[in-house]
């Protein structure tokens, strides 16, 4: 709990900065409204107004928090289409949209990390793959995902693949890369002496992999999985943007920007951030448990 104080201090500083920015960002609209009504705004009234606009340029933190609460707990508990009334998640709640994005993220992350590990194993064990795969993997990441995402979705749509899979593929596209890089490094972590030792036992390639390379790569694996799952979430959200998707956090961002619902955009952004943070934390937990059981407590 010693870490709590610095974390809370930073959060408090950020909130203060945010509140301070809200007033000048939204002042114009408040002033215009007042002028039209022929009134003079006092400073106190100005501050109150900028904090509580319907469509502020920059919503205040409490507005975002309120919206997050309303569009999750309140919507599902009391909403007409909420979980308590219908038995299914409401399509107006962030829980529903978050789940839509999360399912694509997890599928893409699973495929992406599997692919990344497979490629790394190939690169480490096969000279031809060592020379050929990495440049392509790097090239793939230099293409802006925003440019290639619509192409992938259109092409897959044309062959009849829609829904979850195209989004998952874009997640895969972003998440395999950190895993390849991390695992190539990890599988090559054993030093020459450890490899020589295996040679003195005349161990097979498979045994060297299972007993030396794979366990050595564990810390690298978890580090790259943390990056990969965050990238997978970005991929899933980006995949929802260009297709006019009606569900998912990306869809919420898009509809928010169509209708100028800044509060909705910010709450969807925060939902995405919370989702990413909890997934990274979950991997961190698995990492701690695994490495501790391996005697490599960090």
């Amino acid at each position: 709990m010693r870490n709590l104080l610095p974390v809370l201090s930073v959060v408090a500083a950020l909130l203060a900065l945010w509140y301070a920015a809200v007033v000048p960002m939204n002042a114009q609209w408040a002033q215009d409204q007042a002028r039209r009504a022929g009134q003079e705004l006092s400073f106190a009234a100005l501050v109150t107004d900028t904090m509580n606009q319907q469509r502020p340029r920059l919503p205040a933190p409490h507005q975002v928090a309120q919206e997050l609460w309303n569009s999750t707990v309140v919507e599902e508990m009391t909403g007409r289409r909420g979980f308590m009334n219908t038995g299914t998640l409401s399509n107006r709640s962030l829980i529903y949209h978050g789940w839509v994005t999360l399912s694509a993220t997890l599928l893409g992350f699973a495929i992406g990390s599997g692919l990344g590990i497979a490629l790394a194993v190939g690169i480490v064990h096969n000279r031809a793959m060592d020379a050929s795969v990495m440049p392509w993997a790097i090239a793939s990441q230099t293409i802006p995902i925003l440019a290639i995402a619509p192409m992938i979705i259109v092409v897959l749509n044309a062959v009849g693949i829609t829904g979850l899979v195209p989004k998952a593929i874009i997640s895969t596209y972003l998440s395999f890369f950190p895993v390849v890089v991390g695992m190539v490094k990890g599988l090559r972590a054993p030093d020459q002496m450890q490899l020589d030792l295996m040679k003195t036992y005349s161990a097979s390639g498979r045994q060297v992999f299972a007993k030396l390379r794979w366990p050595s790569a564990m810390p690298y694996l978890f580090a790259s999985l943390k990056v990969a799952i965050a990238a997978a979430l970005v991929g899933a959200i980006v995949a929802e943007l260009p297709t006019g998707a009606v569900a998912g956090l990306g869809a919420r961002l898009l509809s928010g920007s169509y209708y100028g619902q800044t509060v909705q955009i910010w709450s969807a952004l925060f939902a995405a951030a919370i989702l990413a943070a909890s997934m990274v934390a979950l991997i961190g937990l698995i990492q701690r448990v695994t490495l501790r059981r391996m005697g490599m407590a960090t």
């Binding site: 020589d196 030792l197 040679k199 003195t200 005349s202 005697g295 490599m296």
Partner: protein, 263 residues
């Protein structure tokens, strides 16, 4: 049928090894000829770059000679390695941090396909041999450097190789720990009757341990003297103050100096 009792376990004839480096060829071994008999304790001593480690690695099939012949147990080094003829102890203990001490000793046994019961029995036996009983479930970082090195010796002893190759195994340890480990190593050698090849740069260590001392010198790496020790096999630590001991140590020092005069 070969007479294995008298035939040398390791036999090298006219061995040469040249490394190609960016600074031109490096003559690591030049015309090395040496026979090692069964049950001998042979030390290789010399300054760094004299090829002592390289020669050990040639025996272990970790380096390949440029010319000359070498046989291990009457086979090529590669065949001997595949037959798991030797255990190798490196300069660093090199225990796997994710395995317990017992797990580390088990490693070669798992690779060589011993049964589970056999593995456990052997782990218990060799850990007792290096006086590490009771540390089975500890992880390497919980042990001192000397204990780690003992665990790595246990690992090399766990399977039935009758040759033990040791590359400066105690080089990183302090004098007191080193004395104790040298004593233990002699006891272990007496109990297991293995043939031991031992690389060191310490003259007292070489003289104290060996039945045969091979003095080497650098550029090019070559043998300058082979000394058969007249010391008895049972050696208390204070044998190091005896005149015989001092005389052999003197001859080793002379050999090392002669190697340098050639430069």
């Amino acid at each position: 049928m070969r007479d294995t009792a008298s035939a040398p376990v390791i036999s090298a004839k006219g061995l040469n090894l040249t490394f190609q480096t960016n600074d031109g060829p490096v003559h690591a071994l030049k015309d090395v000829t040496l026979d090692i008999g069964r049950g001998e304790f042979v030390s290789f001593i010399g300054p760094s770059g004299c090829g002592k480690t390289t020669f050990l690695r040639v025996i272990a099939d970790l380096e390949h000679p440029t010319s000359g012949t070498i046989s291990v147990n009457g086979m090529s080094p590669e065949a001997a390695r595949r037959a798991r003829a030797y255990g190798y102890v490196f300069q660093a203990a090199g225990l796997y941090p994710w395995r317990t001490i017992a797990g580390n000793v088990k490693l070669p046994l798992e690779i060589m396909g011993y049964s589970k019961a056999e593995q456990d029995a052997r782990v218990e036996k060799v850990l007792e041999l290096v006086e590490l009983s009771g540390f089975e479930r500890k992880f390497p970082w919980q042990l001192s450097g000397g204990m780690q090195q003992r665990a790595s010796i246990a690992r090399a002893l766990a399977f039935d190789a009758d040759i033990l190759l040791m590359d400066e195994p105690f080089g990183a340890l302090d004098e007191i720990v080193r004395d104790r480990l040298n004593e233990q190593l002699l006891e272990l050698w007496a109990r297991t009757e293995k043939t031991i090849g031992f690389v060191t740069h310490s003259i007292p260590e070489a003289v104290y341990l060996s039945t045969k001392i091979v003095v080497m010198s650098p550029r090019p790496g070559r043998i300058t003297d082979i000394i058969d020790s007249p010391l008895p096999r049972a050696r208390p630590l204070d044998i190091r103050d005896s005149p015989e001991f001092i005389e052999i140590a003197h001859r080793v020092r002379e050999g090392l100096r002669a190697g340098h005069l050639d430069d």
